[in-house]
Amino acid sequence: MAVDQTKLKKIVDNIVGLPTLPTVLTNVTKMMQNPRVSAAQVGKVIQSDVALTSKILKLVNSAFYGFPNRISTVTHAIVILGFNAVRSTAMSVSVFDSFGGGGETEGFDRMAFWKHSIGCGAAARVLAKRLNIKELEEAFIAGLLHDIGLIILDQFVHEEFVKILKVVKEKDILIREAEKEVLDGVTHNDLGGWLGRKWNMAPALIEVIETYPTPSSASENYLLVSIVHVADILTRALNIGSGGDNRIPKINKSAWEKLGIDMAQLPSILQEIIDSAKKAEAFFSMVNR
């Protein structure tokens, strides 16, 4: 169900002042295309950005990761966590820096939004871990950024967003349904995907952002999309923050089955998600200003 590109274009053409991706991240992405690049080389480039470096180190040393010894340099973090994980962390920091502040829109609580996002990231990571997926940080960032399009709506398509929130309130429906009504079929997923391309996010991440409500429309990254689809629903069920509405969508059966969760195990999985979300405080402190 690809969105009508002309309709999306009509909206994004009016967006002005979108923050750009920090140069350091662009450079790191380029460097990582070379399979022979070393941790020290990438570390050196990231460490040229002092603010970014200190935030990355704060996160990787937080309770969320629970490493027994302090990680003191970015190079060290790359050696322990891997290139993709550190790039994901750098991406999270950049998103928080660019979109973390402000937001006083009535009916859309930014803090609740970030709680939902961080909770969903933690949930996706827990689910990925149970499936023995190696790229845990990719799952975390996919959950963390799955609704980033809502921030784009709030910040850059504000008038329509206010209308959307009004529809959500009046009809008590999912925000995605209200978006389709107000934006002629366009959703926060489409706007999030648009940002993902502008920001050179990993293709898997873009696919998650665009298709997590409808996993059957995913292609290459079906498993990751399914994980975030389920993570979003579990985070809503646990009432961890809010993504702008107070309903829960019906789960996609194939996506659920793909994860192979035994219903009898679900309470302990939920408990694991709660514990993990609590440990993600360090992420929240980066937007909490």
């Binding site: 069920a237 009432n239 789960i251 309470p267 709660i274 993600a280 360090a282």
Partner: protein
């Protein structure tokens, strides 16, 4: 663990993180239960806040309240019912609903 201003401390609270002065000297160790005497000493030392055991109260404003307190409120269950109202005909959604409810009622606590 939660951060509490020294003025709001009460005897009986347990220290969750050791209290140090600026020079790094330990004033009160982790794990002890606060007495009136401790609290007045903390005030005298000019310590403005310390970490004590227990969860953050709702709306306490620190980052520790990402997860709502699932166990206490009737509101939580009422809200859960509302959220799931239109999807409970689906067996998987029903399973999720029941699992959340069991956690909220503390059945899953070890």
């Amino acid at each position: 663990m939660r951060k509490v201003a020294t003025n709001d401390l009460e005897p009986g609270m347990k220290i969750a993180r050791k209290v140090e002065n600026k020079a790094g000297m330990v004033l009160l160790p982790e794990g002890i239960e606060l007495t009136e005497a401790h609290i007045s000493r903390l005030k005298k030392w000019g310590i403005e806040e310390i970490y004590v055991e227990g969860e953050d109260e709702k709306g306490a404003g620190s980052g520790a309240d990402i997860v709502p307190d699932l166990t206490v409120s009737e509101d939580f269950i009422a809200n859960l019912n509302h959220k799931f109202e239109k999807v409970l005909d689906d067996p998987i959604m029903q399973g999720i609903y029941n699992a959340v409810k069991s956690i909220a009622s503390g059945e899953n606590k070890e």
